[in-house]
């Protein structure tokens, strides 16, 4: 983190705590909001908001701060989402890891693009995620499942992304920036 040359005093404990909290902020925020979204707050479409939030969060931080969203944190987030919902355990761990791998693989291109290109990338990622989730659920149930819940989930994810991203961008420049500690 500290790449500037020069001599300066040893970081104090407080400073190091500040760096650590900024470093952990994306992962903890992702997990915390997931738990909150599983609470009975009575918001319509809550079941769809959980995967939408996890997808947007993993996608954004994998592009802009991969050090704060390492693969094991993505795996843990997916597992938490799987256990909070009733789907097959491991499915969202797999989906989020694929999203993470895709975002990491293209981050040099994506991070230089404007907001709309990144959003377009997210549309593709969310479509793939909803399709994979639907397919695995259908195969496990061995039954044709109505595609509407998946389409609704996709729509919620794509629609919520600009709103979430505006918050993420602010955090990226402030709360989640260890270099500003």
């Amino acid at each position: 983190m500290d790449r500037k040359p020069g001599i300066r005093p040893r970081p104090t404990l407080w400073h190091r705590l500040d760096v650590a909290s900024r470093f952990l902020f994306p992962g903890l925020l992702t997990a915390g909001v997931l738990v909150l979204l599983s609470a009975p707050i009575g918001v319509p479409g809550q079941a769809q908001m959980q995967p939408a939030w996890a997808l947007a969060s993993v996608y954004f931080w994998s592009i802009y701060r991969p050090a704060s969203m390492p693969a094991w944190a993505v795996f843990a987030t997916g597992l938490l989402l799987d256990l909070l919902a009733q789907g097959p355990v491991g499915l969202f761990a797999l989906i989020l890891l694929l999203v993470h791998a895709l975002a990491m693989g293209n981050r040099r291109v994506l991070a230089r693009q404007g907001f709309f290109s990144v959003w377009a990338g997210f549309v593709a990622v969310a479509a793939g995620a909803a399709a994979l989730e639907w397919a695995v659920n259908a195969v496990f149930a061995w039954h044709w499942l109505a595609p509407w819940p998946g389409l609704f989930e996709f729509a919620v994810a794509v629609g919520a992304y600009p709103l979430l991203a505006s918050g993420f961008i602010r955090a990226h420049q402030g709360r989640a920036a260890p270099e500003q500690a």
Binding site: V35, L36, S38, A39, P40, I41, G42, Q46, A47, Q48, Q50, P51, P70, A71, W72, V74, F75, G78, L79, D82, L83, L84, A85, Q86, G87, P88, V89, G90, L91, A93, L94, L97, L98, H100, A101, M104, E133, W134, V136, N137, F140, A141, H143, L145, A146, P149, G150, E153
Partner: protein, 300 residues
């Protein structure tokens, strides 16, 4: 910390994602092969989160109460008129019900009717709608010294909600009748035809295996049947409703979209097992060995 060369660390970093992907696929398959493992993890997580949910819930309950109060205050006049009309109608039905009740009591007295045992139940608050996109279930917060068991039956104020499928120390999960894995033996109240109610993850579960020639009427009441000895007979499930494609479905009586409190009934053995066949006597005087065999063959 172990010091690794830069190359080794880069190779490890490149390996992490594939290894974790293989791990999640392994978890998916493990969950298929041994469903008890993820279930135990889920119960542990729900137990841990149940107090947190209850705490988070408080301000939202306050907000919701305030919203309900405002809405009620807004439409008070119209509501009042509606209630007065309804009261008028209900008063008539009250008289009818009292007359029928008296007649029923008299008939039962003449028949030497054995009264149904009174049931024990616990009331629990729904703390999370834990279904996800492709499942329908709710999480209940229950005290640490509860007697809730798997297979017990959950009802809300107006009808059947579902069955308890997982029980932890502080939480229990109820599989709703709308879940795709839910299959419930039911009976149509008028035609007495039996059927299976199969959840479809949508708001309306479907009626399967209706006998040939039975066409349930729109709006006909559907109650549980004691056929599979999993439910007591006669719990209200809902009313028949035909989908646009002409498939008979059920409009659940319970308010499954907004569950707040449910009652978990312990029907015990007397409630959920079918009555013993006439002529079946308890095994008493048999030689040793055969008695043990016979008793081990009995279901309970």
């Amino acid at each position: 910390m172990i010091r690794l060369s830069i190359q080794a660390r880069q190779a490890l970093a490149r390996l992490t994602v594939p290894v974790l992907i293989v791990g999640s696929v392994g978890l998916l398959l493990l969950g298929r092969a041994a469903p008890a493992v993820p279930e135990r993890a889920r119960v542990a997580l729900s137990d841990g989160l149940a107090p947190l949910y209850s705490a988070v819930e408080q301000p939202f309950w306050a907000l919701r109460d305030a919203a309900v109060f405002l809405r009620d205050a807004w439409g008070m006049r119209a509501e009042n008129a509606r209630l007065r009309a309804e009261n008028e109608r209900l008063r008539h039905w009250y008289d009818v019900a009292m007359a029928l009740d008296a007649e029923n009591a008299e008939l039962k007295a003449n028949l030497h009717w054995v009264p149904d045992p009174s049931l024990s139940f616990v009331t629990a608050r729904v703390v999370a709608d834990a279904g996800g996109v492709y499942a329908r279930s709710v999480l209940l917060a229950i005290g640490p010294h509860h007697r809730v068991q798997r297979g017990q039956i959950a009802l809300d104020a107006s009808g059947l909600v579902g069955r308890v499928t997982e029980v932890g120390a502080r939480s229990a999960r109820v599989l709703l009748i709308t879940d795709m894995n839910s299959r419930i033996p039911v009976r149509l109240e008028q035609s007495r035809a039996r059927a299976i109610l199969a959840g479809q993850n949508g708001p309306y579960p479907r009626l399967l295996y209706l006998p040939d020639g039975v066409h349930p009427a729109e709006g006909e009441r559907v109650v549980t049947s004691a056929d599979a000895s999993a439910f007591p007979a006669g719990l209200p499930v809902g009313t028949v409703h035909y989908s646009a494609a002409g498939v008979p479905e059920i409009d659940p009586a319970a308010n499954l979209e907004r569950l707040e409190l449910v009652r978990i009934f312990d029907y015990g053995f007397g409630g959920i097992t079918p009555p013993e066949a006439p002529g079946h006597m308890p095994v008493a005087a048999l030689p040793e060995g055969t008695a043990a065999l016979a008793s081990s063959e009995r279901p309970f």
